[in-house]
């Protein structure tokens, strides 16, 4: 029960800080490498949204679409990233939220404060992030990630950066 697959809050926080750094440094392929082969990545359009199946989402990617999303970020014809966004993320308030029933996935809750700067405009995003983490050897993998933006149901311009 205990031992190698036990997760501490400090371990989880170190992992989330590493993840945020990969995104801030535009290392998107490395970021994708953090996810499991059957992962999903979700930014709901409503507070407390119960499902991505019956309600639209700002982003809902299965593994296949997430790979396409990351590949597009490297495409030279991605007009919505000419010029590129620069981002700065603060990840904090990390808490362990227990394991998913009957499985190895550890649920982590954290707070995200994200500043995006592009073409003389700065946008601020605040969110509660949820990660489902699994151990893969010595490393963590993200089985799923959900990011609840405080303004998820507000009027928003296009979202190209990753949360």
């Amino acid at each position: 029960m205990h031992g190698a697959d036990e997760v501490s809050a400090a371990d989880a926080e170190a992992f989330l800080v590493h993840e945020a750094r990969l995104l801030d440094e535009s290392r998107f392929e490395d970021w994708l490498g953090l996810f499991t082969a059957d992962c999903w990545y979700w930014v709901p359009s409503q507070p407390d949204q119960a499902s991505p199946r019956d309600t639209v989402s700002l982003i809902y990617d299965d593994r296949r679409l997430l790979e396409t999303r990351v590949r597009r970020l490297g495409n030279m014809h991605l007009h919505a990233q000419q010029p590129r966004s620069r981002t700065s993320r603060i990840v904090t308030n990390v808490t362990l939220e227990g394991r998913e029933a009957g499985g190895p996935i550890q649920r982590i809750r954290s707070k995200l404060l994200l500043v995006e700067f592009r073409r003389d405009q700065q946008r601020t995003f605040a969110a509660t992030s949820w990660h489902g983490l699994v151990r893969d050897g010595g490393a963590f993998r993200i089985a799923w990630k959900r990011v609840d933006l405080v303004n998820c149901d507000g009027e928003l311009d296009g979202l190209v950066i990753l949360f």
């Binding site: 082969a37 059957d38 999903w40 930014v43 359009s45 409503q46 949204q49 991505p52 199946r53 019956d54 309600t55 639209v56 989402s57 700002l58 982003i59 809902y60 990617d61 299965d62 593994r63 296949r64 679409l65 997430l66 790979e67 396409t68 999303r69 590949r71 597009r72 495409n75 014809h77 991605l78 007009h79 919505a80 149901d153 507000g154 009027e155 928003l156 311009d157 296009g158 979202l159 190209v160």
Partner: protein, 452 residues
Amino acid sequence: MESAGLYSAERLRDLVRPGRVHRSLYTDPKVFDLEMERIFGAAWIYVGHESQIRSPGDYLATRIGQKPLLLVRHADGQIHLLHNQCAHRGAMVVATDCGHASEFRCCYHGWTYHTDGRLKSVPLQNGYPGHFDPTDRGTAMVRVPRVASYRGFVFGSLAADGPSLEDFLGYAATSLDDMIDRAPDGEIEIAGGVFKHGYDGNWKLYLENLCDAAHPIFVHQSSIEAAKAQSDQVASDGSGEVALRQMRQNGAPYSFWESQVGIWTYPNGHSYLGDYHDDSKLVAALNDPVFRDYIAALEAKQGPKRAKEILEVRRWNTNVYPSLSFMSQFQQLRVVHPVSLNRTVVHTYSFRLKGAPERMFEQTISFANIVNGNGSLVLTDDLETYGRIATGLSSGGAEWLEIGRGFATDLPGDHGGRKGKNSTSEVYIRNMFDAWLAYMTREPRHLAAAAQ
């Protein structure tokens, strides 16, 4: 008015020429103000769907142009469209997006209104002077003069007079029919939430892009290439598959866009683009088990012959000028809200086909995410383009903007409209500017001219 003085009918007519329009139509705030007054102040504007206000007392915040309004179903079942303004000191009476109420009460001094807008009670009423008449329609939440529903789609007009909703829609109503007829039970409802996406550009750009068969290869190059390079051996729960089909099909060659799609226009600025997916690449592909189940449900309710007729209607975007665009085949609807000259917000909705398998609606949601989502790999490049047009126009370069592609080869169409010989014709933009000119000059003959 001063703005009207600067833009006489003669001047306006000079700004819309065969195959080109003047830059100022997108850059002059006075033109924008005049558009709000003469287009959004006259045309039938989509304000909501009856499934959003099912029961007496249900209400919905909506807009015509920049005006915040309230769509309400009154106790007698009738639908009213009210200015969301208290008759006392002008405060917005209802502050929530939607809900249910037996009466509306202003937060300021407690004036209350019936759900049809009539004044119900005024505290300290004996303190008002002799001219105060609580039964006066002006002493109320004033009604928008005309509201009408076409099979559940509700439109309002700020003008007391004008063509009926049916006459305004004309043949474009058949695309609304198409959306409804696809439901095995013959009924649809708004479901699955709403996207609200904004951009720093003019409101006209949005509809001008939606039937543009020539832009995807360039605007969407990043998502086309990323999708084509994607392995299909990677795990998908189905949502990615719908998105990838859509992005890849955007990369169809020019020869396909030119010859296989079709573009049709109708009076009053309306138009639609034909579908550009063949059966194997259709979003709800014909060999998809969910779509097979749906077809079976449609045939069971409507009979095989009628089901075949329904499924043979293959339209992509239908534009109802000036502010509605919808995809009847894929149950998507977009409402364009002009905010200012260079700021626009678009609200998009999905519809559930009653009697269809629930998995069908899940595909509708996946499709909505890729075509209308704020984080869509496709839409984000469109929004970027609208912003670049606003910035580019501020450069003061070319005075006339070209909308002439296909001008020499357009053909007469049916039902008073035209059609492009090639699907990449900008005939639908020229048709919108014919309507623009008719509204702006208040000369309906230009609407007829659109049909020539």
